[in-house]
Symmetry: C3
Subunit: 138 residues, 3 copies
């Protein structure tokens, strides 16, 4: 059984990090499936997904990492070619990854106590994001 | 068909890297399924998964990467806020990722000859880890 | 329903980046399945997968990132131990990841308009790569 849903969020861009755990959990519950995986996917090349303890310290530390290894304050070939300012956003998203699969059992996500699912919007301005959440199971 | 199992390991923490390939392979074989994917998932925000050639050189090189881009020897906002010492562990785990899906066929993982599945425990002390290994297939 | 296919490509190595979207899309269409996920997997420890806007600027920026955080121009323990020259290739591949799951609906990959699936061959010489593309769905 496969159920395809979307999660829609508004972001501020600039490495805005959103906790989408409750929306993903809601998708799993509404699917009616009891065990399987939910594959969350950013249909975008400037946003990405991972898990983290969602508290302001960890969020700030993760953003600093990307500011250091992929700072916006230098030339990017993407910007030079297209007149964009989001070259760093593309490399950041490619590195962190657009896809995340989380198993569930008894209709509950098998996350740790201090672990949340986050969407990171690396683009340089606010965006409306439509994230795919597809449930496969039984 | 969905089968949910756990793999339990003891780690030393501090970027201890464990080869869990044989345990994952065992889960697939015991599932009775012949083809599909096994989704391995860390229900934790300070450990992560990937694949690598599991030999001491590659292990050492990977640990050096994380020591360089996310050294423990600097302030982290997570530490400042919670009095923890594992701020670097959180960012490392978020970057490497908590989920890995490996296809199998004829009940065998489709890994390369020199490719193993590893659990990296980035926390700062020894931990008992319970990793989810969920098999979906037929 | 599970369908296991392979995508075969020739690479130049040295962080050669190939757009394999059309091959993955072809696998999904030939599977006869309408909705589900395709898990793409590198059975290799020196190549990796992600998504990106496949244009020469983004490609160049992503390669620069890896040249900076994992330059070939320094000693690697893997090289010291095995006499290889691809120690950096191993760490790069482990960081970026060997597995990618992309959902599809109505037999079409749910990618963004400017988003492609790429194989990055981090090895130091041209390779023939056989990538697994396994479709699960209904």
């Amino acid at each position: 059984m496969v159920k395809t849903h979307y999660i829609e969020v508004k972001t501020k861009g600039n490495a805005d990090i959103l906790d989408i755990t409750s929306q993903v959990s809601g998708v799993v519950q509404r699917s009616g499936l009891k065990s399987g995986i939910v594959t969350i996917f950013c249909s975008s090349s400037t946003s990405a997904l991972t898990t983290i303890e969602y508290e302001s310290g960890c969020i700030s530390d993760l953003r600093r990492l990307f500011d250091e290894i992929l700072t916006p304050d230098r030339p990017y070939a993407h910007n030079a070619r297209w007149g964009d300012g989001n070259g760093h956003s593309h490399s950041r998203a490619a590195l962190l990854g657009s896809s995340l699969s989380v198993p569930f059992s008894k209709a509950s996500l098998m996350l740790g106590t201090w672990q949340q699912i986050i969407l990171v919007d690396f683009d340089t301005h606010p965006r409306h994001r439509k994230v795919v959440a597809q449930v496969i199971g039984e």
